[in-house]
Amino acid sequence: MDLGSPAAVASALRDVGYLPDQRISQVVFLAARLEKPVLVEGPAGVGKTELAKAVAAATDRRLIRLQCYEGLDEAKALYEWNYKKQLLRIQADAGSDWDSISQDIFSEEFLLTRPLLEAIRSPEPVVLLIDEVDRVEVETEALLLEILSDFQVSIPELGTIEATSHPFVFLTSNNTRELSEALKRRCLFLHIDYPAPDREKEILQARVPGLSEHLAEQVARVARSIRSLDLKKAPSVSETIDWARTLLTLSVEEVDEEVLADTLHVLLKYQGDIEKAAKELTSSPVE
């Protein structure tokens, strides 16, 4: 697969059903060229995770995903010694001397690889997705630094394991906290915002087969209008897709006030938001 120019990246991503804008394809191109990780930031539901999946699909690589959460530690992210197996090994071999056993039980056979190590050790190149990296504590972030800058993992008992092939690394963040400078410095930064109506229309047409162009355009424009309101949770792209599907199922051909008021709950998930949007956009408030 050719990622030799931004245009080639764009068409490759298009082929797998992801419609990138110029910024996205440029950054993905740079990431491939400079072999640097990409930090993707933006509101929930604009396709950050989807981008990593699309790149994996477009480049025919395996996707390895590390879902971050508070309390994530080395043993879950990097590697762990399989102590049960080690214990068995010691018991099975009770007679032999300590040196040979201690050499033996800290070998690769007893290593449980976790996503990060797995991505490094994989013989064929992979796409590594570190999802919602802002959820881990600042201290845990440090775990990632070695991988992101040098594509290697140091295990005290085994030494340093270097990547056999450069993985494509994506980190996503919902910006719930400021990531450390050290992490940001190692990454290319990509801020994805809600798509412009033109692009959203294209996305809708790609994702919802059978959707007429006219309806797609209307949906995209209404979505923009709703996002301009001050809401608790603005509709994400996946929600507009759901909405378009709903409209298609209801065989709606034209979005008018009535249709909007009836189906607003597909787009918005808070009663307060629904009421507000109904008040702003239609003349009749919902019941």
Binding site: P6, Q22, R23, Q26, V27, L30, R33, L34, K36, V38, L39, E41, G42, E70, G71, Y83, K84, L87, E137, N175, T176, R177, E178, E181, K184, R185, C187, L188, F189, L190, H191, P197, Q218, R221, V222, R224, S225, S228, D230, K232, D256, E257, L260, Y270, Q271, G272, D273, E275, K276, L281, T282, S283
Partner: protein, 469 residues
């Protein structure tokens, strides 16, 4: 290229955007990998390597326009164009062969068909003929922009465009709204094009560094809250959302390490690793702390800008904390929590505070002493060791008795008492400020003049546990 890039990075740093050495080197390496003739590619490449925070994008775009504007923005357009346009003929409008109506109709055409190249050409022509730029003047171009837009008659353009897009169909208010938003977006493109065009000429006239210096504005996070303009406030409001999310996450973060009870089952399991000796005791996760925040806002006249900001902050917080109570005070205090319920419009909440809340008792001049005493009398009994009390105000008491003893009681009854003061530290205790009298009783006092300081406060919010129990 190297020289321009170094200058560009220097300019970003001047503005306050942190660009490290490594990032600068990355940018240079990245630029080698792309076609520098492609302006969008160059822009996105530099953005991805140099900017690591979405809030800095505006500063980036301004600096980029200045530093890379001499490159032709349109295919087939010579570089000479920008220089040639620089010395315009004093008062504009007199260009030979220039037809105002013709230009307007071309702009309308371009806008209605979303023809970006044509729009840019028309914008360039508009600047040539309407901006009346005078060489050598040390201005940022805002005046030229307004002059051009005024002569183009933006509102007439808007009406015409609405007409074109709507046709003559009868539209419901809903459809009309959609069309209007469309028009607004298209016009903002025109505006951006004209602005860019003006900057190009300014740069050609005075050089990059000089123009960049004139255009330099503090980053959103460095704007002084007390002196913020309306447009500054709008920008800050946009930045507040993520900040309150952070605060919510920070306050709710459970303390790690051993706080819970011994987990016998897991300890035994773990002991397998050490041959049955429980060397590594495991503990249950402590119950997550459910934060309860009470916010006391000074909403008096001297605090007008700041209180608007704190209220906005509160409003955003209300969507994250179920147990947030808000109080507003001037010389007496009233609870305004209900005004900020989820889904309530911010503007209406503010107007309700002004009209419905009882925040004035005597004369409408700040009286912290009375406000705090009333607060303690009415609500003090409801404080619990879980409550974090945050007071925002300048502590300027109009020389009235501070009555700070009551604050000691509040501090004793709550988990923590925090004070945010929007004045520079230097001015505390000058004149009628009673800051230190109050500070004595607070868990901590912070100077919060800018968004950055507010962010630091949020980041560093390590609340003492049971300090006042």
């Amino acid at each position: 290229m190297l020289g321009v890039l170094t200058g560009f990075i220097g300019e970003l740093r001047q503005t306050g955007v942190p660009v490290s050495m490594v990032e600068a080197i990355d940018a240079m390496t990245a630029v080698e990998a792309i076609d520098v003739g492609d302006r969008t590619a160059l822009r996105e490449t530099l953005r991805a390597t140099l900017i690591k925070n979405a809030r800095h994008e505006r500063a980036f775009d301004t600096a980029f326009d200045v530093y890379f504007s001499l490159a032709p923005s349109l295919p087939g357009e010579g570089e000479g164009n920008a220089i040639e346009g620089a010395p315009p003929s004093g008062e504009a409008g007199g260009g030979a062969g220039f037809e105002m109506d013709d230009l307007v109709s071309r702009i309308l055409q371009a806008l209605s068909h979303l023809d970006t190249d044509e729009l840019r050409r028309a914008a360039s022509e508009a600047v040539d003929n309407l901006a009346g730029m005078e060489p050598g003047r040390p201005v940022g171009g805002t005046y030229y922009l307004y002059r051009t837009l005024r002569r183009l008659d933006l509102s007439a353009l808007e009406r015409a465009l609405v007409e074109i897009l709507m046709g003559d169909a009868e539209l419901t208010p809903f459809e009309q709204r959609l069309v209007e938003e469309d028009v607004a977006e298209r016009l903002s493109r025109l505006r951006a094009d004209i602005e860019e065009e003006i900057r190009r000429r300014l740069v050609a006239d005075r050089g990059r560094e000089a123009v960049a210096r004139t255009l330099r504005r503090p980053l959103v996070e460095d704007i002084d809250l007390m002196h913020a303009t309306t447009s500054d406030l709008a920008e800050m409001e946009a930045a507040i959302g993520p900040l309150t999310r952070k605060l919510a996450a920070r306050l709710a973060r459970r303390r790690k390490k051993r706080a819970g009870r011994l987990d016998f089952r897991r300890t035994m399991r773990r002991s397998l690793a050490t041959g049955g000796v429980p060397a590594d005791p495991q503990f249950r996760h402590p119950r997550p702390h459910r934060p309860e925040v009470w916010l006391l806002c000074d909403v008096s006249g001297s605090m007008a800008t700041f209180s608007r900001f704190t209220l906005q902050f509160t409003h955003a917080m209300a969507t994250h904390f179920s147990r947030l109570r808000t109080f507003a005070f001037i010389d007496t205090i009233d609870e305004v929590t209900d005004f900020f319920g989820p889904g309530v419009d911010f503007a209406s909440a503010v107007s309700r505070i002004a009209t419905e809340a009882e925040v004035v008792w005597l004369d409408g001049h700040s009286d912290y002493g009375n406000a705090l005493e009333t607060f303690h009398r009415r609500y003090g009994a409801q404080l619990t060791p879980r409550t974090t009390v945050i007071i925002t105000g300048d502590a300027r008491n109009n020389y009235r008795p501070p009555r700070d003893g009551v604050l000691a009681d509040v501090a004793k009854a709550s988990r923590a008492l925090l004070w945010l003061n929007p004045e520079p530290h230097l001015y505390w205790d000058t004149g009628d400020s009673a800051m230190s009298a109050y500070a004595r009783h607070c868990t901590s006092v912070h100077e919060v003049r800018t968004l950055r300081q507010l962010e630091d406060f949020v980041e560093g919010l390590a609340l003492p546990r049971g300090l006042n129990r």
